[in-house]
């Protein structure tokens, strides 16, 4: 089998942008491995518009956004293999994959970029009591059925979870003639974008019930009705608040989780908060030369940020190879800590000698904060204090660190990001 400098696992927006950036940075030995029969990843089924406002200054649909990058990959002559499942990544960066033409094969690589995206949380984790009749789908599965296969899973729908995919599917199924009766959300706020709540629910008079959950599913063979109830602050159902809805379909939209089986078995260190790899300023994992970007690293809500992040992973992989695949000395490593409202940061460490002039640090908050401040501390000194009218768990936040500024603190050990009331 041929060898490659850079093997990219996954041909979604992250993998595509990483490949284009690596090629543009001067590397000609790149291979993308994609298990699906086409490039583009999850965007192929996201036929709604709203993608790319940051990158292209226009509102594209998912397939159009994906095609902008697919076209660059084709024009640049970057190699890719479809219908090819990556089975294993060894710590020495040998990638084992399988497809019908080549069977099982191994590719030794100098650098590997993880871009496997994420999957939906399985319903098993939801613990809904009752039988498991037909008619229960994850929102993403329903999206694929309706948009790719042209098949409507049902006519009368209840949706549990108000994440963006659930909201988008409420509108999509309504447009195709279904009656969406209610969207129930366990939390007291929706994780979905305001725009989606207005344009997918309010536009069609679909009620959103916050602090509600499913307490019963009726139907032995097929769903016939779903009962929801209000939950108290302990998230337990409050007796007497039950409402029953007859329906033939229950969609679950309960969040996404990075797809990291491969990373784990390769020995990549994982963050328990993001369920993605722990990375440094170069988006490199604890295994030198293994990089991660996109939804496999942490769940993004805007694909523009995925592309931007992936571009950096691609460039850094080339830099790593050009530097002779050496691990930079670990002497001036600065730790990044998220606390008091900030849940995590990507990256988790900064190696100052390898840092660019500007470094984007992305993070999420754990709750809704109004009129608060995003504060950054260099050791014990507060160096940034940005007022924010609103911070919400559904929206990724970012701060930008200047290398110049870090240079003023030669003994800096720790950078802390936190949310403060004043």
């Amino acid at each position: 089998m041929k060898t490659y400098d850079i093997v990219i696992v996954g041909g979604g927006p992250a993998g595509l942008a990483a490949a284009v950036a690596a090629k543009e940075a001067g590397n000609d030995s790149i291979l993308i491995l994609e298990r699906d029969h086409e490039l583009g990843g999850i965007l192929n089924q996201c036929i709604h518009n709203g993608f790319g406002l940051h990158t292209f200054k226009e509102e594209l649909t998912g397939p159009e956004y994906a095609y902008r990058f697919i076209k660059q990959v084709l024009d640049l002559g970057i190699e890719y293999k479809l219908n090819t499942m990556v089975m294993d990544i060894a710590a020495d960066k040998t990638v084992t994959a399988m497809n019908r033409e080549d069977g099982m094969f191994q590719i030794p690589a100098k650098a590997v970029i993880l871009a496997m995206g994420c999957r939906e949380r399985p319903r098993g984790a939801l613990n809904i009591p009752g039988y498991r009749p037909a008619g229960i789908f994850s929102a993403g599965t329903a999206q694929r059925l309706v948009n790719i296969e042209g098949y409507m899973p049902g006519r009368e729908v209840v949706i549990l979870g108000s994440g963006d995919i659930g909201l988008i599917m409420a509108r999509r199924m309504t447009l195709e003639g279904a009656k969406v009766k209610v969207v129930a959300e366990l939390l007291p706020y929706s994780g979905g974008l305001k725009r989606n709540i207005v344009q997918c629910l309010d536009d069609y008079g679909i009620p959103l019930k916050l602090s509600h959950t499913v307490v019963d599913i009726e139907g032995k063979e097929h769903v016939t009705a779903v009962t929801i109830a209000e939950v108290g602050p302990d998230r337990k159902p409050i007796p007497g608040t039950e409402e029953r809805y007859t329906c033939d379909t229950l969609l679950l939209s309960c969040g996404l989780i990075p797809e990291n089986e491969l990373s784990r078995s390769a020995g990549v260190q994982m963050s328990p908060i993001t369920s993605g790899p722990v990375v440094n300023e170069s988006l490199e994992t604890n295994i030198p030369g293994v990089f991660a970007c996109g939804n496999v690293l942490h769940v993004h809500d805007l694909v523009d940020y995925v592309s931007e992040e992936a571009k950096r992973a691609g460039q850094n992989a080339v830099k790593y190879i050009n530097d002779g695949c050496k691990n930079a000395e670990a002497s001036d490593v600065i730790e990044l800590v998220a606390t008091e409202g900030a849940r995590y940061t990507v990256p988790s460490t900064i190696n100052k000698s390898r840092m660019d002039d500007l470094l984007t640090v992305r993070f999420r908050v754990g709750d809704v904060y109004k009129n608060s401040f995003v504060s950054v501390y260099f050791d014990d000194e507060r160096v940034m204090h940005n007022e924010k009218r609103i911070l919400a768990p559904g929206e990724m936040e970012q701060i930008i660190l200047q290398k110049k500024k870090l240079d003023e603190y030669p003994n800096l050990k720790k950078i802390t990001v936190k949310i403060e009331k004043e």
Binding site: E64, E149, D203
Partner: protein, 121 residues
């Protein structure tokens, strides 16, 4: 005098806007925290429009459906008429991004265009 309640979609604050109308003319917008909310409310109350996205049946292609969108936004109250025309349409592969698949959909003066390529097989 008439009042309407809206949620601003300008940012995650999601301000609750109260719009006062007099004979179809906006006389006051309340509840917005910034100017964006005022602009949004005036447009949304007088002339709400949306882009509609869906799929169209395609024959002799390497896919069953081709994803589509209205090339521009259409009046909100025409969404279901537009969907009816989109659902009735059937096209033949090949199709390229941007190809017009339904002309002047539901008499809106707006075309429905393909948002992905489908090869003929």
């Amino acid at each position: 005098m008439e009042t309407r309640e809206l949620t601003c979609i300008g940012c995650p604050m999601g301000c609750l806007l109260t719009v006062t109308l007099d004979n179809g003319e906006v006389t006051e917008v309340k509840g917005n925290t910034c100017a964006k909310g005022d602009i949004y409310a005036r447009k949304e109350v007088v002339n709400p429009t949306r882009i509609v996205t869906s799929t169209v049946k395609i024959t002799s292609g390497d896919k069953e459906r081709v994803s589509v969108k209205t090339a521009n936004d259409i009046p909100k109250n025409k969404i279901f008429e537009v969907m009816k025309d989109i659902d009735a349409a059937e096209v033949k592969a090949p199709v390229k991004i941007g190809d017009v698949l339904v002309k002047n959909v539901a008499g809106t003066g707006v075309d429905v265009i393909a948002t992905r390529n489908v090869e003929a097989v």
